[in-house]
Amino acid sequence: MYGYLGIDVGSVSTNLVLTGEDGIIKQSIYLRTQGKPIEMVQQGLKQMQAALLDKIKVIGVGTTGSGRHLAGVITGADIIKNEITTHAIAASNVMPGVQTILEIGGQDSKIIILRNGIVADFAMNTVCAAGTGSFLDQQAARLNIKIEEFGSLAMQSSVPVRIAGRCAVFAESDMIHKQQMGYNVPDILAGLCEALVRNYLNNVGKGKEILQPVVFQGGVAANAGMKAAFERALGHPVHVPPYFDVMGALGAAMLAREATNRKGTGFRGFDVADRDFKAGGFACDGCPNVCEVVEILESGQVIARWGDRCGRWSNVLERHEKIS
């Protein structure tokens, strides 16, 4: 049997998906990136190999997410694509006719508007990371609640507390204030969900025409409280697809299928998981820009470089991933 591998290296999670030739998911793996993207890609590959038992041969690899270039170099990806495109592709395949995708991840949140099956518009949060998964994580930790229990607790609320969602700093002080006034935790959590949804719709969803069917994906979609808050705010049902947390990886696998349509794969095999990869870096002193050049080393040998504006370092390598 043959299959396609999709890898999504995000700020918070690293996801791997293996699809069959028909695009149906055979195996998915969700790992926390924990600031170690290289190790997590390798760990994910190991787990994937163990789960497959050599029954499926990988004939295409796609990478996405903010660590896509890193993962692409390690695995020898056939396609390296941004996460907006991969999310849109995955959602429109999982739910044909989808018109709006709400996606909230660890460090970014985005809205993708599709019409007739293609992306018609999209927006991403700007420089501020308020209203993303990391903030929910942080607040759950402060209230000493497991992030997995967040959603079910929020669902127990009867009267959500009003919390200012414009800025994460204000939201936090508002929450502390409400908590000291004696409101119970579920109501505060539900209020936080509503504040995030309000913030999302005002900032990311500003001026966008949100039409049904709406798909809600990304790690935060696991939170039932957020789904309920979106449904209340939009006034119509919001669908969370079964593989909501690995949609980026799924899209990457689908793109890999397209990219290897008439040619072989560049996949370097699962044994890259055991090779020694290191990311190094240095500040180039060639000009006052002082670019921070990143080097990826495999067993002491440089296999990729990026981060330099002028190409002085990245261009000297034979095979290089162009990132800047």
Binding site: E83, I84, T85, I118, P288, N289, V290, C291, I323
Partner: protein, 332 residues
Amino acid sequence: MSVTVGIPRALLFYYYYPQWKTFFDHLGVKTLVSRETTRGILEKGIKSTVDEACLPVKLAVGHVLDLYDKVDYIFLPRIVSTARREYICPKFLGFPDIVRNNINNLPPLIDYSMDLYRKGSSLYNLFYTVGRQFTHNPARIFMAYKKSIESLRMHCQEMEAGWLPFEAGGNHNHEHRPQSAGVQDVTIAVIGHPYNIYDRHISMNMVKRLWDYGANVVTADHLPENVFRREAGKLPKQLFWTLNQRMVGAAFYYFDRPEVDGLIHVASFGCGPDSMTGELIERFARQGSRKPLLNLTIDEHTGEAGMVTRLEAFMDMVRWRRQLDDVAATYY
């Protein structure tokens, strides 16, 4: 011995440099432009400016710092208004004072006002007072002024012919444009302040990136003045700011043009007028048009990943939409 006047490569440099240079040349005064923005220049500027200032102003201070020990004068005209009944952002107005209060041991600043707000006010006032610093011959100043107007006109013509400010100026410099000119299959309008979109450092080389993705880039500066003024007139009320009027007018125009596939609005974080133009473009200019619009905010961050992701996704989207339109065109 001739004197040297320093001109910072910032703010309205991108519009007026040819004029300023010609004027000083004809007075026999040497000019020195600060070097292209680097991280060092930006960091120096950030360090010596108040926190509330926007990125372009901080950068401009950095450019002044790049010049101040190399020249005898620094040319920082106090730009109040460049057109009748319109203003330029107040930070331009106060810019000479920002510089004076933040930098020690400055060479003398040439900071006479350029104010065309009132009827009958003339650009000549500025140039005459500047010229008097270097010569006592009014005829010479007048001649230099005439030549400078001529070169500004040439500069505008070149831009209207499709060149960008950093390419214009006689030596059409092709090195930054992609070699194979035939591959530009989409046209993207980049709407933003000239000092944001043409500065290679703070825009993270956006124009070059778009060229590399196979896009033909058009900006507000490719339009003659009467066009963007006419288009901006579609707003219910006239905008006060000249530059933003230019941007909104260009957005109106490009949304209507069939050959333009998408627009990118570039705002600097903390810019009041920009936050409003963004809204105006979204609400008014886009009405009735389904063309994709991308809002990008630039600030001090050096991580390029966010910008690259958005531009890539935007280009993917523009191409997909085009394909779909092509399919539709063959069926109907």
